[in-house]
C-alpha cells in the first residue's frame, strides 16, 4: 500500500458520461477516474446527478452517452469484480427476518462472508429473529450494510448511507465500514449531504454540480493547492494585486474580504493566508458553479484507447 495506491489501478473510469431523462440531462460529459483502494466522497446539491452516477456504476442504468469502466471492464461483466450498491431506499424484504435476509445474501453471493455480516448485525444488538418490517430506520440501515459488506465487494457504492442514523450509530458504522475497507482493500464511493461526515473518512473527493464534475482528486492534494485569504477590502472589491490568482469564491463582509483562491505562485500581500478545511473547500465549490473545475492528475480519465470500448459518439 505504498505508492501504488496513488498512481495504481483504476477502480472507476468515466469518459464523457451522460444520462438523459425525459426532463433533460441528469449527467453531462462526466469524465474522471477513481484509483483502486480509495474511500471517496461523492458530493453535490440535490439533483446534481449523484444517484444517477452511482446507478450507472452499479449497472442499474445504462448511460445515454460515454463509457464507464469498473476495474477496467464493463459494469456488470465478470471482469469488473464484485460490486455492492446500497441505495437510499435500502430495499429489503419486510417479511423476512434478519437471519433470513443474511441467508438470502449467502445463497445469492458466492464468496459470502457470513461472519462479517453477523458481526455487523450483532454490534447493533439487532435480534436475528426480528422481521425487517419491525426494525427502526437505523437498524434497517445496519442490516443493509451487513448485506452489502457480507458480499465482500471490490467496489462498494453507498447512496446517503448514514442519513437515518443517530450520531453514535453513525460513528460506529463508519468505523466498521473503514475497518472492512482497510482489511480487504475495498474501494468505496459514498454520496452524502453531510459534509462533516466526510472529514477524516474520505481520502478522495468527487464534487458533482449541474450534472458535471466540478472537483475531483486526492483530498490532501486538493486542500494543498487552495488558499484561503482574509484581509481588508480595497475600495469596494478584492485587492487588485490578488486578481491574477484564479478565484474560486469571494465574500465581503463589512471592510473584510474572504476569498478562496487556487494560486499558481505564493499569494503574498497585505492579507492573511490559511489552508482551507475540507468543508470550506466543498462549500466554496458548491456555492460557485461557475468556478473553473479542477480535476487533479490522479483523477483524470486516462488514455481513451485503454478504455474497454470506444466512446459512443455524442451528437
Amino acid at each position: 500500500m505504498s505508492n501504488g495506491m496513488y498512481a495504481g489501478d483504476s477502480a472507476l473510469e468515466a469518459h464523457g458520461l451522460g444520462m438523459r431523462y425525459r426532463r433533460g440531462w441528469a449527467l453531462k460529459d462526466c469524465s474522471f477516474r477513481l484509483p483502486a483502494g480509495r474511500i471517496c466522497g461523492l458530493v453535490g446539491p440535490n439533483g446534481a446527478g449523484k444517484t444517477t452516477l452511482l446507478s450507472i456504476m452499479a449497472h442499474v442504468l445504462e448511460p445515454t452517452e460515454g463509457t464507464l469502466s469498473v476495474f477496467g471492464a464493463a459494469p456488470g461483466s465478470v471482469d469488473s469484480g464484485r460490486t455492492s450498491f446500497l441505495t437510499q431506499e435500502k430495499p429489503l424484504f419486510r417479511g423476512f427476518s434478519v437471519a433470513e435476509t443474511l441467508r438470502l445474501g449467502q445463497e445469492l453471493n458466492p464468496g459470502w462472508d457470513q461472519r462479517t455480516a453477523e458481526d455487523i448485525v450483532r454490534a447493533g444488538d439487532v435480534p436475528f429473529d426480528a422481521k425487517i418490517g419491525t426494525l427502526s430506520g437505523g437498524q434497517r440501515t445496519r442490516v443493509a450494510l451487513a448485506l452489502a459488506l457480507g458480499k465482500r465487494p471490490d467496489l462498494l457504492l453507498l447512496d446517503e448511507p448514514m442519513s437515518d442514523l443517530d450520531p453514535v450509530a453513525r460513528k460506529e458504522l463508519t468505523g466498521t465500514l473503514l475497518a472492512e475497507a482497510a482489511e480487504h482493500g475495498t474501494t468505496v464511493l459514498m454520496s452524502t449531504h453531510v459534509l462533516a461526515e466526510l472529514e477524516n473518512v474520505c481520502d478522495y473527493l468527487v464534487v458533482l454540480s449541474g450534472g458535471g464534475v466540478r472537483l475531483a482528486g486526492d483530498v490532501d492534494e486538493l486542500l494543498s493547492v487552495h488558499t484561503m485569504v482574509t484581509g481588508a477590502k480595497e475600495g469596494e472589491d478584492l485587492p487588485a494585486s490578488l486578481a491574477h490568482h484564479p478565484l474560486v469564491e469571494s465574500r465581503i463582509s463589512g471592510r473584510q474580504f474572504t476569498a478562496l483562491i487556487r494560486p499558481d505562485s505564493p499569494a503574498t500581500g497585505p492579507w492573511e493566508t490559511d489552508k482551507p478545511s475540507m468543508e470550506e473547500l466543498l462549500l466554496a465549490y458548491l456555492r460557485s458553479p461557475d468556478a473553473l473545475p479542477l480535476i487533479t492528475p490522479t483523477a483524470q480519465a486516462q488514455d481513451q484507447d485503454q478504455a474497454y470500448n470506444t466512446r459512443t459518439v455524442a451528437a
Binding site: G175, A181, A182, N200
Partner: protein, 140 residues
Amino acid sequence: MEFRIDRRNGVPAFQQIVQQTKQALRLGVLVPGDRLPTAKDVAEVSAVNPNTTLKAYRELEREGLVEPRPGKGTFVRRTLARPSASTDSPLYGELVAWVSRAAEAGLEQEDVAALVASAMEKQYAAGTETAATTTRSTGE
C-alpha cells in the same frame, strides 16, 4: 493506545496521529518494541480513514521513530522521553517559578502563552536555521 481525533481543530488527522504518537513516546506511554494500533484498529475505534493512519506511520518511520515489520505491524524503535524534560526536573521547577512571577505581575493566561510562544520561536526557529547552516558547511 487510542488516538483522539478532533475533527474541528483544523489540524489534519494524520498530523494529529503523528503528534499524539510523539506525545506518547515522550511520556513513556509507548516504549521501544511496542506495537502501534493497526490502520484497521484505528479505523474501527476512531472512524479514521486507514490511508490517513498509514500516512502518519510513514511520517513517523521517516523520522526513525517506528518501523514496519511486514505482516506483523508497526513497532516503536526509539523513545522520545528525556529525563530533563520530565516534570520533576530543575527546568520544570524554574518554569513554574517564572509562571508564578508572571501571574504576580498581572499577566493573563493568554499573555503568558504569547510570551512563551514568542521566546520559543526566537530560540528554535533560529536554532533550526543555524543547524541547517552547520550541516551544510560540514558537508562541504
